[in-house]
């Protein structure tokens, strides 16, 4: 059977980030997929090991522009884990508010892009329109639309003054009404139903095999959520449901995200109510970090983000390791894209809400003299085969 390869990327109108996909197709059917990453690799772990803990927070924030709370949060959890630092209760509520607002804006962003990918730009414009008030809330409480710089080891950087809470609650009411409308409209929409139902199914077993996390796993019936499994910050103090659905198709992934928005609004409301009265400081000043190891986990909008730090008693991490959720979610496309029509492949790829900025890895090659070379791996491997052949045949 002859096979055709459809290259997508690195710069493609539908890709926000520069990535390369090689889709093998047989007629209209996708038979395989290969991903080439590394176009966004900036060497975060390397830079982080040269920065102090406080500077690193600003750096890890810039791993990804959409999860710009999840990474710092996981990082400060990791540093706090070294010495078992407790954080003040007010700081815990503020952290949760910022984290959940981020989830709302990230899911809305995905919803819009998903609409765009299936050629349904109305949904895109709509979802992004209602994302703006959330960014406004962010601007009120953190001072910036994105990249909030809120997290600190031992607490948060800025307080949410009690008098700021009532207007925020009012905006939240408005957002909740709009979200209920979007949730209903998206669930009933005939276009979305016919385009997404039964498309790109990820079975429960495949989700387990590929270690999928976040909404990707939860849409396949796998109940994993760091907020429930290992509640940190204020998650143990608020009441919410983890949304789990069964079918594993793109439609279920959409519904999971839409329902999560509604849950997040509930969490934010509970936290804001508590912030009216919760006493105390917002920062537990951490003077030094002893030598040791710490891990930090947080449920980012895309799934579990994991940070590991090893410290040696100085003010910098000796080793810092990051694992972002997309790193395990993107390979699930191998199974979910197989056997579907080419036209559905893009939305299936997008359904895991891939974030390549978080995922990036790079291979660096140095020659015997220690000089960095950038050839392509295939060529090196061919050269090696040639060499071996010559050695054997003399």
């Amino acid at each position: 059977m002859s096979q055709t390869v459809v290259p997508i990327g690195p710069f493609h109108p539908l890709l926000e980030e520069a990535e390369f996909f090689r889709l093998s197709v047989d007629g209209e059917t996708v038979t395989g997929i290969d991903t080439d990453i590394g176009y966004m690799h900036r060497g975060h772990e390397f830079i982080s090991e040269r920065k102090t803990f406080t500077q690193s927070i600003f750096l890890v924030e810039r791993i990804c522009g959409i999860c710009s709370t999840s990474h710092p949060l996981a990082f400060v959890h990791a540093v706090e884990d070294v010495d078992n630092v407790e954080i003040p209760v007010r700081a815990a509520y503020i952290r949760t508010v910022v984290g959940e607002l981020e989830r709302i804006h990230s899911h809305l962003l995905w919803l819009g892009l998903a609409g765009h990918f299936i050629g349904y730009d109305t949904l895109w414009m709509w979802a992004w329109k209602y994302r703006e008030p959330i960014l406004e809330i962010f601007e009120t409480i953190t001072g910036n639309r994105n990249h909030y710089a809120m997290m600190r080891v031992g607490g948060v950087a800025r307080d949410v003054p009690p008098e700021a809470v009532p207007p925020l609650l009012k905006t939240l009411d408005m957002i909740e009404r709009k979200m209920a409308m979007i949730a209903k409209a998206a669930a009933d929409d005939p276009v979305l139903r016919s385009r997404l139902k039964g498309v790109g199914v990820l079975s429960r077993q495949a989700a387990i095999d590929y270690c999928a996390v976040g909404p990707t796993a939860r849409a396949s019936g796998l109940a994993i959520d760091v907020r429930k499994d290992e509640p940190k910050d204020a998650y143990a103090l608020v009441d919410f449901k983890a949304i789990v659905l069964e079918n594993g198709d793109v439609y279920d992934k959409l519904v999971v995200r839409v329902l999560e928005i509604i849950e997040s609004i509930k969490i934010v409301r509970q936290c804001l109510e508590k912030l009216k009265t919760a006493p105390g400081p917002i920062l537990n000043d951490v003077k030094e970090v002893t030598a040791g190891e710490g891990i930090g986990r947080y449920e980012a909008p895309r799934g579990e983000v994991f940070h590991y730090v090893r410290t040696d008693g100085s003010n910098r991490p000796l080793r810092h390791k990051v694992r972002a959720p997309s790193y395990v979610n993107i390979p699930t496309c191998e199974v979910s894209c197989k056997g579907i029509p080419l036209a559905d492949a893009l939305i299936t790829l997008a359904s895991v809400d891939p974030c390549y900025c978080c995922t990036e890895r790079a291979v660096h090659l140095v020659d015997a003299r220690g000089v960095r070379i950038t050839p392509d791996l295939l060529q090196l491997s061919r050269d090696k085969t040639e060499r071996l052949r010559r050695d054997i045949h003399g």
Binding site: M40, H41, G43, G65, E132, N146, C355
Partner: protein
């Protein structure tokens, strides 16, 4: 080229080149197209092919792997083409200056005409930059 630039300024078509950013500037660029900011009312349109573009919006510190591709995109774009660097990344390298994987001189990869500061710049700032560019084109 005055007459040509003046015609160009009426409706700038932009192409978005993401050269290892953190994603945020890209999202803010898309945000410009959505109802709150809606730059399409000024004739500014995001196009899918670099061959249709009048303006390249470059985000990110350009890394070693993406640099030859960015160069190629610039070469493929019909001239005159204006290159706008969005964010602190193309302007000064942001916090990635010490990285082993970013190119040392971004200007050698692609010649920038306009820089927009901010990490990420507010949508208003980007609109302001484009308006200034239009002003320059109108002479």
């Amino acid at each position: 080229m005055g007459w040509y630039n003046r015609r160009l300024a009426k409706s700038l078509w932009v192409f978005h080149v993401s050269a290892s950013p953190c994603n945020n500037c890209d999202i803010e660029i898309l945000d410009l197209l959505t109802p709150r900011y809606d730059v399409e009312r000024f004739g500014i349109k995001l196009v899918g092919s670099v061959r249709h573009a009048d303006v390249l919006l470059v985000t990110g510190v350009i890394n070693e792997k993406v640099a030859p591709r960015v160069r190629r995109l610039y070469e493929q774009a019909p001239k005159p083409v204006f290159v706008v660097g969005i964010g602190t990344c193309p302007t000064s390298g942001c916090c990635f200056k010490e990285s082993y994987n970013t190119v040392q001189r971004r200007e050698d990869v692609i010649p920038f005409d306009v820089y927009v500061e901010g990490c990420p710049p507010k949508p208003e700032a980007m609109i302001d930059a484009i308006v200034k560019l239009v002003g320059v084109l109108n002479g």
